[in-house]
């Protein structure tokens, strides 16, 4: 008896549901809010860091070492090209440095 009554309630509820939903018009779609901007965080943060690093490297770029350079050294020589200063200093070594 109990189950019969419950079935009766269920059947009646189903009919009432059908009846009440018959005239309901449901929009076909729903507008959802714009996508969360969390992706931009993932893209923007490393991109900004990379740009910053590049700028930093550019500004603080170390001077390139020069292989060839000249050292202005004036050494008095005689006609034969030999140094007239003969105090034992090896000038050739200085120049090569």
């Amino acid at each position: 008896m109990s189950n019969t009554f419950k079935s009766q309630l269920s059947a009646s509820a189903a009919r009432m549901r059908e009846q009440s939903e018959k005239n309901i018009s449901t929009p076909a779609t729903i507008v959802i809010p714009q996508k969360h901007t969390r992706y931009w965080g993932w893209i923007a943060t490393p991109a900004a860091a990379a740009v910053g690093l590049l700028i930093g490297l550019f500004i603080h770029r170390p001077a390139e070492p020069k292989d060839n350079f000249t050292v202005p050294v004036v050494i008095a020589t005689d006609n034969s090209g030999h140094s007239i200063i003969d105090d034992g200093t090896d000038y050739s070594l200085l120049i090569s440095l």
Partner: protein, 190 residues
């Protein structure tokens, strides 16, 4: 292998919601909307006094809540229970907002019961439905909600317990009380 084309209609509610949560998949969300929009609109329509506009607003609010709370959905959680919990809470909030209006409506004298005279009852489905509807309208919000969830939406006791956030035993006992009450009131129509 990466699936390029997903047949959303073949996915379960849980799988769709998982895609919504993990990938912000709008197509999966649209499929869930297609499956539940009408059901929820009907639920709100009946629970909010047959107000079509309110029902539509509440249904849309429910889906917006589903979207905005998608992170709180956990894998394997029954989607139907989850979405009805959101709908139930929205309903409760509306009841709270309309408390004064409701108090006024409750204070109105109940309508005359059906079939006061001794004329033989026409024991057909329409008569029973009408009598049941009459009795349901006299119940309080909590009892009406319980009837809706159990008999109209055909949710199980554990599902109802999860939605209303009360123990299963309490749901069972409230359902028994409700059924016995209705049986008593509708004994002439059985």
């Amino acid at each position: 292998m990466i699936a390029l084309f997903v047949n959303y209609k073949s996915l379960s509610d849980g799988q769709l919601m998982e895609r919504v949560r993990r990938k912000d998949d709008e197509k999966a969300f649209a499929e869930l909307y297609r499956r539940y929009a009408r059901l929820l609109q009907g639920f709100f329509f009946r629970r909010l006094g047959g107000d079509e506009e309110k029902a539509l607003d509440h249904m849309q609010d429910t889906f917006l809540k589903v979207w905005s709370s998608r992170w709180s959905y956990s894998d394997g959680q029954p989607f139907r229970t989850w979405i009805f919990t959101i709908a139930y809470n929205l309903c409760k909030n509306t009841y709270r907002q309309n408390r004064h209006e409701q108090a006024y409506l409750d204070s109105l004298p109940a309508e005359e019961p059906i079939a006061e005279d001794n004329t033989p009852l026409q024991l057909d489905a329409a008569t029973f439905d009408s009598a049941l509807q009459q009795e349901l309208s006299l119940l309080n919000e909590a009892q009406q909600m319980l009837f809706e969830l159990r008999f109209t939406q055909e949710l199980t006791v554990p599902e109802i317990a999860a939605i209303i956030a009360i123990p299963e035993g309490t749901v069972k006992s409230r359902l028994n009380t409700l059924t016995n009450y209705l049986r008593l009131k509708l004994k002439d129509y059985e």
